[in-house]
Symmetry: C2
Subunit: 792 residues, 2 copies
């Protein structure tokens, strides 16, 4: 249910609803996922995991494994030709542990064999002698100097900060000061498809890896470093991805390298497919956060200061922790004007499963913190949650916590009004109060909102490339360095190509990414794909259109600037001829024909040697960041959104049922209405699981579960019908004004639900997930807060 | 032994000798040829050939085949979803015969089965009822109205002509007129690798074909038409090619379509690999020509007129006959100034194996004709073969037979002088005469020369694309729409990329072509690859260099135009700073560093969002052609060459041994010295086989042989050491001045040998090959000529 479009008539494809271009392949089984790639004569790879969360490796004995019939290679760290390290962050991650193991997902040896069974047997026969070390499992304790060091440099992985104004002054000006602690849990990405790769020894002494990879280029960098090969000889191709959510990011380098090492050693293709248990054990998770918020406001409710201290559990390796925590730092205050801010985010190494990128990338945690806090502040001030928010939300020309002056339409207030209006927030709230006094289950309603930087921002290089190749029959092949991982990038990019070339989406074939065929376009993360690849695709298309227009103009006998490309036809525009140098020709008679098929035009152009292939490249606008002060233009633009959740809470059992959900997001421009809705539905479902069920719990570095039988995911019966109100404030920089949606759709679902649960209970649970126990018994941080409480 | 280079110091890579970039892969077995591509679960395809050279199909009974265990699909023409036709020329070729068969290589049904054995059994069990038709086997008789029609439109496939001046007037001005008939045989390409393809049902309902294909884009067009798919959903990828020589051209569409039909029908990968017998039976050959030459000259030896009538056997299908015969038309007079020319080339359909593209493409035949003729004319005039040639060779500003005024350095005379000087032609000739009077074996020496249009000329669209992707470690990935088929294109293009980017060739990875990743660059034929792909590659590289130079300039603190890219480094040029707007900055001090690695520069550029990927497109200069008169600027430039052969002839057995070979070619510029030499060695060897051994003989549409046991190819012991004199007159249009060499190296070897044999025998054999019988007994056209003779 999008808001009425502005200038909708200008677009043929943008804003329409098209089925995902890969939908038929996926439902018919024709799509080839990582595990569907097989080669004749391939071997099967397996890993030998560490048996301890923290230990020194004294010896690795592979002699029995080597001698097993059907075993083709058994490799350890000593067999790595290049560096035994990968990853952007330092210290790097290792491919095969050499001196010590840091968590149970660490790998000490790998095997390639004729069958999975032989490989498994070989792995079992490998014996490793360890010297067990004390386990570090608490990220706060980890930073104590007495704590054993997970890495040589100590346990502080990263410390990100923001210093704006002076919080001392801010709190001294405050009439209300509140201190609260919130905590979020570790969760699993829970993609349907476990990790799978096929490595093939390539021509030219190189290697080709095809698999379930989200970020081809960073993985290629790792492969090149580990295998000691030039980048040009390492090829990474993406198989159809069965979900990723940030989970098949750079760290997939490990599996890719292991398969590649075995392939190069044996000279044969090697396939490695994780079981779900392996995937759960080894793959990184979302960072659990412990957050201390101190907020000061005047009596009217205007925020004066915020002091935030966060401890994140990085687990055994740095991975994306420096980047994840950086985004948390930027978003930690929520979408509010806060004149004085002091934020510190620490990530610490432990012997837990490591943590890294996951949809939201450091925002769902701080959204839970800041949005719980705003509700608590409202209560303290005797205001309603909407009022205190609307008083403080960012507006046009507002300055963010990082000192960035916003120069676009800021719609967080509009989003809040959308969801509260549609959800009749205040009315429902009041009637729930009455209901709860006498009835059961208890009812509650909650809201949340956020602002979110689009794309990578000051996090790193931000540019992307797309190639578009118009065919002589009017069909099109497009491909992008940014990938489809189920989020619909193939469809969205196709739609933009359709818009620019005037073709229908069914004429476009979108190809999976391949590092050897496309330029390094950075990672497919940060909800940047539609924006970055979209702009690149448009440039490529515009270049082709520029080249073929003169031929069309000649054939149709009309000025170049009056040509209309629509529905696979090129015609003389029925609109008034736009002004321009070409319009002088408008008086000329037409050459007999009114339109021609795009395919015919392409053929004519080809016959004249006109190139129908183009590469578009888009570099994001500049951003800035001062690491010392945590001030800067962190992102080139932002998106805004708000959620409303209604819940019913069974106080006997602690069961929470989400009964209604309203979600409003300013996406700049809706590109594919179906796709945009899908992002919101999926984001809400994921946020609901985060709010209520999911937790990857560990004790002394050992997980308490190993498969989905114990890891609770929301099912269709848990997810309510979600009403969506899209806001379209076209962004000056975005393709057709579009910005992003993938992560925004997810980050504020949990706090809206949590706030609704508190509203129903009259008691705040400050720790996710809102399990039966916490809701029923007030366990977790909720109890602490009940005891301790804070504020002046 | 190339001639001294002009301006050699300007180049770092061009003109050096590098090993072929794919050499190690090929000798170690790592290269994946068509037959090396396998997929798990693949089926094996087989064809049911026609049993008659000419017959109507009454019925095809596949019922027994269908019911065989392990047979997955049996298809006939009725199962083709699109059009049952492919090919550029009309009438098109068919994929599966429906109404009639036209030669023994025609296919009536195809089978896919679990194994090759089952497939073979299934093929045997198919029964076809025919109504046998009379066979047409002689291309001259085929044109008689009484001849049965191979195609509905009659047996004239094409008639190409040249009309220049007035031959009547020319002959009337002639003091010597000579009429001769020459004939060449049908030969097989004899590539080492028989045809092989793997077809895989693709995502999006499309198809991917990987195989031994020379011209990916024309094959894709055929696949799309036959399968009724848009071009964007048909993907053709080139496997490493084990030779082609024009033999795996567009006609490979048939095998690709058959495998694709079976793959789409069964939903499984289907592999089809031709046995050598299948390949010999079905694959097209070089056109056999029957040529009538009438030449007129004045007493001083200056040519006045030439009248040429040629009959070519097109066999069962048109294929490339219209284009092959067109090139013959242009080159038929040889590289001579002939004021009056009348040339007619007729290609006729027969029920023989069809004929099409083969290295030289219509030139080896007419080179044999015109170069034999010049020797005979010299004899008639009482001159030596060199003198008569030098009097008539094209020069700068000469006008060719097609009325094209040459506007570049014309070096056919220089080439002739090179080979005759090195081979001491006249001296050897004289001493041989003496030797032959008393000694045995008889010795002879012969020369030949030619001019040849570069690339496609007026034959069709002439443009090509290349993509180049610089990596952040300074390695490079390049790929081209034109392919390496063993001729060394990968190496030559890599060398040009190396030159432009200042990298060493080992840093470049050249990728096989893929229609979905690169623009339609036309066919890899006509010795156009170095020229066309070279220019496209240079453009791509120059674009990248333009983008990264400012960064290098900034880092090194020197003007943009003084940067030198060499050996993977970028430095401040030690040469005098060239003049230009940037040179004003030359006075500035350097920023401390003198040079930086290209990889470092690429990394710096990447970090700034500078695109390191580029697509270069090159469109050939315009050509023109008037079909009515056969006049026009047929090619945008020409190459020139001359050969000299010395032979010993055993007149007892008829054995000819080539004892010495000298070859001189004006290539514009030598790109890769090794590769250029290789082209000449290979061309001479191929021409030697053409001259002496090879013949694919047929009787009433049935070949007399089916494998290499009876088809005689030259071996290393037959091929003499070849001395090479390259001429470098850099072409204004070519990359670094380079033109072409692949076909020129082959087309004039046979006539030089034939002329040498005649010199030894004192008797002319006017028909190739110079078999033992012809040499010993003077069989073939030689005898006829001896009896009949011609000329005034």
């Amino acid at each position: 249910m999008p808001a009425p479009r502005k200038k909708r008539t200008a677009f043929a494809a943008i804003g329409t609803s098209v089925p995902n271009v890969d939908a038929v392949d996926k439902v018919t089984g024709r799509a080839k996922y990582g595990a569907d790639h097989d080669r004749k004569g391939q071997l099967y790879g397996r890993v030998k995991y560490s048996e301890h969360p923290h230990a020194l490796i004294l010896s690795i004995d592979v002699s029995r494994a080597v001698n097993l019939s059907g075993v083709r290679a058994v490799l350890t760290h000593a067999d790595i030709p290049g560096e035994n390290s990968f990853g952007t962050a330092v210290p790097h991650q290792v491919v095969l542990c050499s001196e010590k193991v840091r968590y149970l997902g660490d790998v000490v040896a790998i095997v390639a064999a004729d069958s999975e069974e032989i490989a498994a047997k070989a792995v079992e026969s490998i014996t490793v002698k360890y010297k067990i070390l004390p386990v570090v499992s608490d990220p706060v304790e980890a930073l104590s100097p007495r704590s054993p060091a997970v890495h040589a440099g100590g346990n502080l992985c990263v410390h990100q900060k923001v210093r704006k104004g002076d919080v001392g002054t801010g709190f001294s000006q405050s009439e209300v000061v509140l201190e609260r602690e919130y905590a979020t849990q570790k969760v699993e990405h829970a993609y349907m498809e476990p990790e799978a790769v096929l490595a093939e020894p390539g021509e030219n002494g190189g290697i080709t890896v095809t698999g379930s990879v989200q970020n081809l280029y960073s993985i290629r960098r790792g492969l090149a470093r580990v295998l000691a090969l030039p980048l040009g000889r390492v090829r990474v191709r993406q198989a159809t991805l069965g979900g990723s959510f940030g989970g098949k990011d750079e760290a997939m380098t490990a599996l890719c390298c292991r398969a590649a090492l075995l392939a190069l050693k044996t000279g044969r293709p090697v396939k490695m497919v994780n079981t779900r248990e392996n995937s759960m054990r080894e793959s990184y998770k979302r960072h659990p956060y412990r957050m201390k918020y101190k907020v000061g406001a005047d009596r009217r409710g205007f925020l004066k200061a915020m002091e935030i201290t966060i401890h994140a559990d990085a687990g055994a390796y740095a991975a994306m922790s420096p980047f994840v925590t950086w985004r948390s730092t930027v978003q930690a205050t929520g979408p509010y004007v806060v004149p004085n801010v002091r934020t510190d985010v620490y990530a610490a190494y432990t012997n837990n499963c490591y943590t890294s990128a996951m949809r939201g990338f450091g925002s769902p945690q701080v959204c839970f913190g800041s949005e719980s806090l705003m509700d608590e502040l409202a209560e303290k001030l005797g205001m309603d949650p909407l009022e205190v928010r609307l008083k403080n939300t960012l507006r046009g020309r507002s300055t963010t916590a990082t000192g960035q002056k916003l120069n676009h339409t800021v719609s967080v207030g509009e989003a809040l009004l959308n969801v509260t209006k549609k959800g009749r927030f205040l009315k429902t709230r009041a009637s729930n109060r009455k209901h709860n006094e006498r009835s059961h289950p208890k009812k509650g309603v909650g809201i949340s909102c956020s602002y979110r930087g689009v794309s990578l921002g000051a996090e790193g290089v931000d540019a992307a490339g797309v190639t578009v190749s118009l065919q002589t029959d009017g069909s099109v092949v497009a491909s992008s360095g940014l990938v489809d991982m189920g989020q619909g990038a193939a469809t969205t990019i196709s739609l933009m190509v359709a818009e620019e070339l005037g073709v229908t989406v069914d004429r476009i074939r979108f190809l999976g990414a391949d590092t050897s065929r496309l330029p390094d376009s950075g990672p497919t993360v940060a909800s940047r794909t539609s924006f970055m690849a979209g702009q690149a695709a448009r440039r490529a298309c515009k270049e082709i259109v520029e080249r073929i227009r003169p031929v069309a103009s000649e054939v149709l006998g009309c000025p170049v600037d009056s040509l209309l490309f629509r529905n696979n036809w090129v015609s003389h525009s029925t609109e008034r001829t736009r002004r321009g140098p070409g319009s002088r020709k408008a008086g000329r008679g037409r050459a007999g024909r009114k339109r021609l098929r795009l395919g015919e035009l392409a053929s004519l152009c080809f016959a004249r040697g006109v190139s129908l292939f183009a590469h578009g490249w888009y570099r994001a606008p500049a951003t800035s960041w001062d690491e010392r002060t945590g001030q800067g233009d962190a992102y080139f633009t932002f998106v805004y959104g708000a959620n409303l959740a209604e819940v019913e809470v069974d106080t006997e059992t602690g069961t929470v049922r989400v009964t209604r959900f309203v979600s409003s997001h300013d996406v700049g421009r809706v590109l594919n209405l179906n796709g945009a809705r899908g992002q919101v539905y999926g984001g809400v479902a994921m946020g609901l699981g985060y709010a209520l069920f999911e937790e990857y719990a560990e004790q002394d570095g050992r997980p308490s579960l190993e498969n989905f039988d114990e890891y609770l995911l929301p099912t269709v019966s848990d997810v309510p019908e979600t009403e969506i109100v899209f806001i379209e404030n076209p962004d000056r920089l975005g393709p057709y004004g579009a910005k992003s949606l993938g992560e925004p759709a997810c980050e504020i679902a949990a706090p809206a639900i949590a706030n609704a649960v508190c509203d129903a209970l009259g008691m705040r649970v400050r720790e996710l997930p809102l399990t039966l126990e916490r809701v029923r018994l007030g366990r977790g941080l909720s109890r602490k807060e009940k005891r301790g409480s804070a504020g002046p």
